[in-house]
Amino acid sequence: MAERKISFMNAITESMDMAMEKDDRVILIGTDVAGGAEVDHLIQDDVYEDAFGGVFGLSKGLVGKYGRERVIDTPIAEHGYFSAAVGAAATGLRPISELMFNDFIGFALDPILNQGAKMRYMFGGKAKIPLTVRTVHGAGVGAAAQHSQTLYGMFGSIPGVKVVVPSNPYDAKGLMLAAIEEDNLIVFSEDKSIYGMKGEVPEEYYTVEIGKASVTKEGKDLTIVAIGKMVHVALEVAEGLEKDGVSIEVVDLRTVAPWDEETVLESVKKTGRLIVIDEANPHNNTATDVASVVADKAFDYLDGPIKTVCAPDTPVPFAANLEKAYIPDANKVLKVAEELIFDLKKE
């Protein structure tokens, strides 16, 4: 029997539902996560069928099932509710807190940067912060400079924070369940432009290990490490180059902090060539970090320079043609790949 196929966003909804079903201490807190919780005409026997469940609808249905005590609409006050989520996590709950767009972190960074990420360390190992921060990144939907950034690398530079970026529905469900099970602060960053992507997702409860990359496609000539949606760009490039007789290995990083050095180094040692694709701006991002570690630890295995393909050093533009030019795509990666594999191509 064929596996069930569901969308990336449905996989995330299902994982939150399963986690809340399994453990009463799991709560959902954020702006409109219930959606209209106090609106009289939406309350019918506490079912809330028409409560909209977040701007992307990812938590639709959960307030009806688990009640307003566990699916908590907050004012638009990102600092206030993130801070409350950290306080709740330190004292016995396991919150999932939603930052509607990662761009809004400017108002909400302190609870993550200075409180949640550091309490355990500062308090001599006595605190546990089982908090999952769900957020949304990425360009491609015409949302412009304040709703389209890719900031997971910024979170990833904070010690005490783990950052997960799923590229497909299967991983989204398994990584979300793993994140909620962890006694640590996890930022779970979703690319909104792949919410509709469908894939095989088992109905049962399962987890995908945090901190472990996956080799999506094996190959021997060139490694492409990619993050989130960029994994699909890597696969497109791989398909194109296979026709020219060049064999590409695609590594899906899945966790960007702490990222899986072992899998990446093993792959580069095999292929001798590396491209890293990251939709973040080009400096101080995950791609540059991967490149620097590989240059340090696998220099002798390299047959060419390490290349990164990132967004340019600009804000995300609005106009469709400019936004398209901003986002890394297969053509940009192919151009860069040419420099590395020109001698491998079959005539």
Binding site: I72, S83, A84, G87, A90, G92, R120, Y121, G124, A127
Partner: protein
């Protein structure tokens, strides 16, 4: 006030004062890394509030947190060792003065970020409410923090969710060196409570009994599901914002400048027959000894193992 409460309060007030005097002394000798913010002068607030709390209640504290930690029952030896950056410190020497904490005692940490505690306390209260426990969370904050945006977000959120939390402002008249009367558009912090539909009371923060009574009412309200209360305690810090602060911004006519809450409480407690003079004397000498012992304990405690640098980043 019951005798045992008065005895406890007087003991904790003295422990805090002697603790801070010793911290000041050994900081002057260069035995404490970084910087310290002393609580001396504000003892009536921590003890008046904490006399109403149990171990299972939560507090969030501030950069001026030693007094809160002592009154909440944190181990004093562990605190002194922590402040000196020693292995036997409450945080293994990795937090220091601004991060003294003991979650098992409900002490969610001193906090190096001004205004960092409003939401944390609301979150602890959310845990209490969601898990169905009969407790409260108390957020201590200074007049300086009352002008952070986090004040607004935390109080509003706590109020709309009817959380069992008490916001206790220690208005010591200065945010670092800036006078409250300059920095705040409102004359008091307490009056802002009306914007959040919660009671706002202003009490004499040099008077333990006033703080104690206001806290009792706030707890009653919180536990009855009626939500938060804002209590502003008018107080004064005896020393500077940090040790070494020249305090040139202070002036002769600062309110509370010439008052000492410990002396006032002793007088009142003896007068009301809560404590005898002999009991008060013996509490003072016992507290002095407790703190001297803590210094001795911390001085011989080893430095943290270097390997601990890498520990406890994650669970």
């Amino acid at each position: 006030m019951e005798k045992k409460t008065a005895l406890w309060i007087y003991q904790k007030m003295n422990e805090i004062r002697f603790f801070e005097e010793q911290v000041r002394r050994i900081f002057g000798k260069g035995l404490i890394p970084g910087f310290v913010h002393l609580y001396a002068g504000e003892e009536a607030v921590a003890t008046g509030v904490m006399a109403q709390l149990e171990d299972s209640d939560y507090i969030t504290s501030t950069h001026r947190g030693h007094g809160h930690a002592i009154a909440k029952g944190c181990d004093i030896n562990g605190m002194m060792a922590e402040i000196m950056g020693k292995k036997d410190g409450l945080g293994g020497g990795k937090g220091g003065s601004m991060h003294v904490a003991d979650i098992d005692k409900g002490m969610l940490g001193a906090n190096g970020i001004v205004g960092g505690g409003f939401g944390l306390a609301a979150g602890a209260a959310l845990s209490i409410k969601t898990l169905g426990n009969d407790n409260v969370a108390v957020c201590f904050f200074g007049d300086g923090a009352s002008n952070e945006g986090t004040f607004h977000e935390g109080l509003n959120l706590a109020s709309i969710l009817d959380l069992p939390v008490i916001f206790v402002c220690e208005n010591n008249q200065f945010g670092e060196g800036t006078p409250f009367r300059y920095a705040s558009a409102s004359e008091t912090v307490a009056e802002r409570a009306s914007a959040y539909n919660m009671p706002g009371v202003r009490v004499d923060g040099m008077d333990v009994e006033a703080v104690y009574k206001a806290t009792e009412e706030a707890i009653e309200r919180a536990k009855a599901g009626k939500g938060p209360t804002l209590i502003e305690c008018d107080t004064y810090r005896q020393y500077g914002h940090f040790e070494g602060d020249e305090q040139k911004y202070k002036s002769e006519d600062d309110p509370n400048r010439d008052r000492d809450p410990i002396i006032e409480f002793r007088g009142k407690a003896v007068e009301n027959g809560w404590i005898t003079k002999e009991e008060a004397d013996s509490i003072e000498s016992a507290a002095e000894k407790t703190i001297e012992d803590a210094v001795a304990f911390a001085e011989v405690s080893p430095l943290p193992d270097e390997s601990s640098l890498y520990k406890d980043v994650f669970a």
